[in-house]
Symmetry: C2
Subunit: 257 residues, 2 copies
């Protein structure tokens, strides 16, 4: 595989400077601390501008190679909502949710989005040569798995062999790897969404207990699309949180090496 | 599979009420807006209490079935850091990072953590019967895939058959599904971490371009552990952001149905 120039080149021709705002981190900590999985919502509505802002915030999450292989289904139709609730096993977090959002990973969209990135770059006056090369060559090598995964399999062989001698990125070399890749990116967006709703005084519950087959059918999604999470949202009911947040001792997870 | 009582039962015996703080959402929006993938860092140190707070914030993300199948390696040893940078293809975001964190998914830890949940519940005076049942039966059915994935395969057959007639959760029925499951949870923690660093005036870059085989060897991780992301952190260098954030039109991703 060729050298990943976009990763190894410091762009110091004309620095792009963004003003960094002063932030009161206490407000942020409050968001983190008060975010809980809320399983019962009241009947209060969520103002539309708050939903839209949170969806916007959601898509500001980092996304691998900026390929944005995500989708968010905002369930508005009563009829579809009823079906989505059923596909979520009619759990209270879905049933009582004032709004339901289905976050979907679209590993199958990488090629479309890659082409859109190229179109965008080619419209620019002076597109960066290394960025163009990245979307013309590197991403195509990295994310293409070929018919019946044949190219992925060959990449795996190549990578295993070359990897004996030098550092080389290993994944993705299969559609399963592509799922992981796109699901990670979508999960980052989910977390932005949940925190944003909290910052605006509303709550959420991420759900993974659902019938993915039925959900895909309801949303007319192809087989390769992957449901990441269904997120219920609304105003927290006093019964909405089942208990104090419990986490094992951090020492179990944070390893200083 | 038995009925998922924890998901279908509203706990209204003794409501658990948490005070909800008033939050200035403008501060939160600033965090979201100013978070960028920063690829060059200055030599400024990040105060230890900010790192610790951000790691704490990280592990307050929601986690599927509260099984916390995540780990964060905070790379402190110079020698290990050098190796991790190499495994990240020596990209500037790793090379110039003042601190490096490797976020790891541990789908292989679900059983250990499930037992720890049971131990925790059994120590309580009046553990909830439905929660106990959840960790005694439901999670074991859901996450166990058996030797050589035989149980997972049987589950898949069962689920495909029963799913013809009624709603049923489909995944996970393989180790690949377990990877996706644990990686999603870990990605939620990654996003909390990156936002937290930003809220405290520092920046990050999530990296997926790495040699996962070498990284696992460096961190002495078993094969089943999965590297989620390597996150470089530090003070933003004026050259650190390569350009304005670019996202395709939201309409492409947000579907109102």
């Amino acid at each position: 595989m060729s050298k990943i120039t976009i990763l190894s080149e410091i762009n110091n021709k004309k620095p792009f400077i963004e003003d960094l705002p002063k932030i009161n981190h206490k407000e942020f900590d409050k968001v983190i601390k008060s975010r809980r999985s809320v399983r019962v919502f009241t009947n209060d509505i969520i103002p539309k501008d708050i939903i839209k802002k949170s969806l916007d915030n959601s898509l500001k999450a980092p996304t691998s190679s900026n390929l944005q292989t995500w989708e968010i289904y905002w369930i508005k139709s009563k009829n579809i909502k009823k079906k989505v609730v059923e596909a979520c096993l009619s759990q209270p977090a879905a049933k009582t949710a004032k709004e339901l959002f289905v976050f979907v990973s679209r590993p199958d969209h990488w090629k479309r989005n890659n082409q859109m990135m190229l179109d965008y770059l080619n419209e620019k006056k002076n597109p960066s040569v290394s960025v163009l090369k990245y979307y013309n060559k590197i991403t195509k090598l990295a994310y293409n798995q070929g018919f019946m995964n044949i190219f992925g399999f060959l990449k795996k062989l190549y990578v295993s062999f070359v990897g004996l001698y030098r550092v080389i990125p290993r994944e993705p070399t299969s559609f399963n790897d592509m799922k992981v890749w796109s699901q990670k990116t979508t999960a980052l967006a989910c977390q932005n969404f949940m925190l944003s709703m909290r910052a605006y005084g509303f709550d959420t519950c991420p759900m993974e207990g659902f019938d993915s087959f039925r959900l895909k059918r309801i949303l007319k999604l192809p087989n390769k699309a992957q449901i990441c999470m269904v997120i219920g949202a609304g105003k927290r009911d006093p019964n909405g949180v089942y208990g104090k947040q419990f986490r094992f001792d951090n020492k179990l997870f944070i390893k200083e090496v």
